[in-house]
């Protein structure tokens, strides 16, 4: 939500999704699909997008993670980052589709995927920071 200069705006990483992915992976019993849906809805309201598009994307991602979290969790950090990027791309595609259906397509759809790339580089940091937080407060 932090304001950025104009040129950097399309490249803003998708913080909410990254953090949501971590919690869905680390604590699948706490952060389930219903929770993801509510987070997505709040994201929609705060960004002024169509109600439900981020929610749909987040629910799908969380679903995949809930099925596969045991595998993703033990993967090395680099591989994990790749998986996360794939999930981010999936979510961006859903948001893009929803935008396309209501004629709000951005001019350069490719720039739309830029945040996913940033997610690739940010994931290790997010993972480490959030893991430390989780251990400090021993949330399982």
């Amino acid at each position: 939500m932090l304001p950025l200069p104009d040129w950097a705006r399309p490249f803003r990483p998708d913080w909410v999704t990254l953090v949501a992915i971590y919690w869905a992976m680390a604590t699948p019993r706490l952060f389930g699909m219903a929770f993801a849906w509510i987070v997505g809805l709040i994201l929609d309201v705060s960004q002024g997008t169509l109600l439900g598009q981020h929610a749909l994307g987040l629910v799908l991602i969380t679903y995949i993670i809930t099925l596969q979290y045991q595998r993703i969790r033990i993967a090395p950090l680099g591989q994990q980052a790749l998986i996360v990027t794939a999930l981010l791309i999936l979510k961006q595609t859903i948001v893009l589709w929803a935008n396309g259906l209501v004629n709000r397509l951005p001019e350069h759809p490719l720039i739309f995927y830029a945040p996913c790339l940033f997610g690739l580089f940010l994931w290790p940091w997010i993972f480490i920071i959030l893991r430390d937080i989780r251990r400090r407060f021993s949330i399982t």
Binding site: S46, L101, N103
Partner: protein
């Protein structure tokens, strides 16, 4: 203790349910207005978060204000005084012109122009969907903001309010691709529609024939025909005209005079005339109606 490899069929059901719910929400939100209430409720709920996000930049502003030196302040005061002087001189001429205008209107027997009340609001510096041109302002229904209310800054029209909650509201800028504003040229009164392009420094003027009398540098003001924007506020200045062969209309681009991406303070104009029909219909029209492309 749950088993490690438990895989319940409940997940699939839940996924299907939530997906259908999301898609229904999207459809309803797109087609109808029933969700406006829920949306405004939710945005009231997250207002504290938005306020918190806004705090760092407010604090920075305050610190910067406090850190100004005496000389800087003195310069500022001098500048403001000279500006004020200039404005006073202009005001004297304006008073005379207003009186004259009133008299002429009485002679013509036409209705008096309405006075507009303004409400000053501040932008909440929150980053929204980067692919839509919109801003959030810190005034809502509790200050009398209504949907369709025009938003201007010191130098021109910025946009209109599209969503209100009790403490904040969302304004769609004139540069959003789904926004169009009826305008006219100052020089010859030629009417057109200025549509957003998705870039904050460009509008495109629709339906101007190839032989229309348009020049680079022409100023555009709102024509007031749509019933939302009052007449006569500056909108943009034409900066590029192209004449594509084999097309009936010229491609005219204009740069908004309002500082769409820089203004921190905006003015909300309350149009006193009650536009009951326009108030409920028109903002939706500009927001939702698929834009009409130039015939090609």
């Amino acid at each position: 203790m749950e088993s490690l490899f438990q895989r319940s069929a409940g997940y699939n059901l839940k996924l299907a349910f939530l997906c259908i719910l999301s898609i229904t929400l999207m459809t309803v939100d797109h087609r109808f207005n029933h969700l406006r209430f829920i949306r405004s409720l939710l945005s009231d709920a997250i207002y504290p978060i938005e306020y918190l996000v806004n705090v760092p930049s407010t604090v920075m502003d305050t610190v910067a204000e406090n850190a100004k030196t005496q000389t800087m302040l003195r310069h500022q005061v001098e500048r403001l005084q000279s500006e004020n002087q200039a404005f006073k001189v202009q005001q004297q001429r304006m008073d005379m012109l207003i009186a004259e205008n009133k008299r002429l209107r009485q002679l013509l027997g036409s209705a008096e122009r309405l006075q507009h009340q303004v409400l000053i609001a501040e932008l909440l510096s929150i980053d929204l969907d980067p692919f839509r041109q919109q801003v959030r302002v810190n005034k809502g229904t509790s200050s009398g903001v209504y949907i369709g209310q025009p938003v201007i800054d010191a130098s021109g029209i910025m946009g209109q309010i599209t969503e209100v909650s009790s403490l904040s509201s969302m304004a769609l800028l004139i540069s959003d691709p789904s926004h169009a504003i009826p305008v006219e040229l100052v020089r010859n009164g030629l009417r057109s529609i200025a549509e957003g392009t998705g870039q904050s420094d460009q509008l495109s003027l629709l339906y101007l024939p190839q032989n229309a009398d348009v020049r680079v540098g022409d100023r555009i003001i709102s024509s007031g025909l749509g019933g939302i924007f009052p007449r006569g506020y500056p909108v943009a200045v034409i900066h590029e005209i192209q004449y594509p062969p084999a097309q009936p209309f010229a491609m005219v681009y204009a740069r908004p005079t309002a500082l769409l991406d820089r203004s921190r303070e905006v003015l909300l104009i309350a149009v006193q005339k009650k536009l009951s029909a326009a108030e409920t219909e028109s903002p939706e029209k500009t927001r939702l109606a698929p834009k009409v492309d130039a015939v090609d």
